[in-house]
Symmetry: C2
């Protein structure tokens, strides 16, 4: 995991101080959002990173750019996790496990998700991009289960994430409740066993 900037590689590489500040800003933002949610002020982040506001704005012209930088790493982690699961766990169990991992992430990052939700409102693009990545990850594990004949073929990753992602959006949901609801959803997704129903 090289400490690399998110700039087009064509241009001259970023100056050392700039690159350093960029990193510190993202870390400061991550901490601040996790602590104060959407009540976080820009100045607060700049201060925590020991940098002037001007510098912050050059790196991240809009608040959402900062949110995105923080979020991107999380999304990548979820994608990686999907690949790992697909390589090491049986199809149906892999699907279940990844979805549970998703729920754990969502609950752990609750405070940050609030900020994220607001960011999505102003710039639908960010929502779209990350949504696609996550959907792709979900697709990885879902399709395996479908090919194995264990999940209904008429459900796609978009639907799945709309459902599972949605239930994380509500503030006062516990991990336990979400896991329980996931089980319900999975009952709806599981391919019907031909012949006798063995529900539960």
């Amino acid at each position: 995991m090289p400490e690399v900037s998110t700039r087009p590689p064509s241009a001259r590489p970023m100056r050392a101080d700039a690159s350093r500040n960029r990193t510190r800003l993202i870390e400061a933002a991550r901490l601040a959002f996790a602590t104060h949610g959407s009540a976080t002020t820009i100045e607060e982040i700049a201060k925590a990173a020991d940098v002037g506001v001007g510098t912050l704005y050059r790196h991240f012209p809009r608040r959402i750019d900062l949110v995105e930088a923080v979020y991107r790493e999380d999304v990548d982690a979820l994608v990686t996790y999907a690949v790992e699961v697909a390589e090491s766990v049986a199809p149906w169990e892999g699907l279940v496990e990844w979805l549970q991992g998703f729920l754990r992430y969502a609950v752990a990052k609750r405070t940050f998700l609030t900020e994220l939700h607001e960011a999505f409102e102003k710039s639908p693009d960010l929502a779209l991009q990350s949504r696609e990545k996550i959907a792709a990850a979900a697709g990885t594990v879902l399709k395996r289960a479908q090919h194995a004949g264990l999940a209904r073929p008429d459900v796609d990753q978009q639907d799945l994430m709309q459902l599972v992602g949605g239930m994380c959006m509500t503030r006062n949901s516990t991990l336990e409740q979400n896991i329980r609801l996931l089980a319900l959803v999975l009952d709806g997704i599981r391919a019907p066993i031909s012949g006798t129903s063995t529900h539960r």
Copy 2:
């Protein structure tokens, strides 16, 4: 539906001008939130109601109080709808119909829901109260289906609304997608038919 204030009935009734302004403020807020979502400014609402900001703040000290006033009517309508459905439609079909009504509401009010979501963050109380009312409405239709043996008994109204409510929170969901997902959820909720599975 009498045009009544939300004040404790013990005190002297509100002065006529005050009551009138209160009503106008709520209507202005409803329109503004529906149009501009959470970008709505307080001053904008006051102006639309043809009232000074001072007056607005006396009636609704916190932004959220205004949001709540608008929201309360919507919640009440959903509650009423649940009762109507319970009186005139068969148990399972009634459950389905009310939930579809809920989805229609959520999609139609999408812009307002954004504002609502932010309001919930700052004051969890509002979230709780209305959540309970909606859950009660859901309970009305859900319990009928359960008593008729058509819905799994181990699902409660909280879970149901967490699931169905959640999927409305995402910005880019269409009514069609939500209806489709609802069908999926209902498949998970429907009591298993003993003997042969007739899924789909």
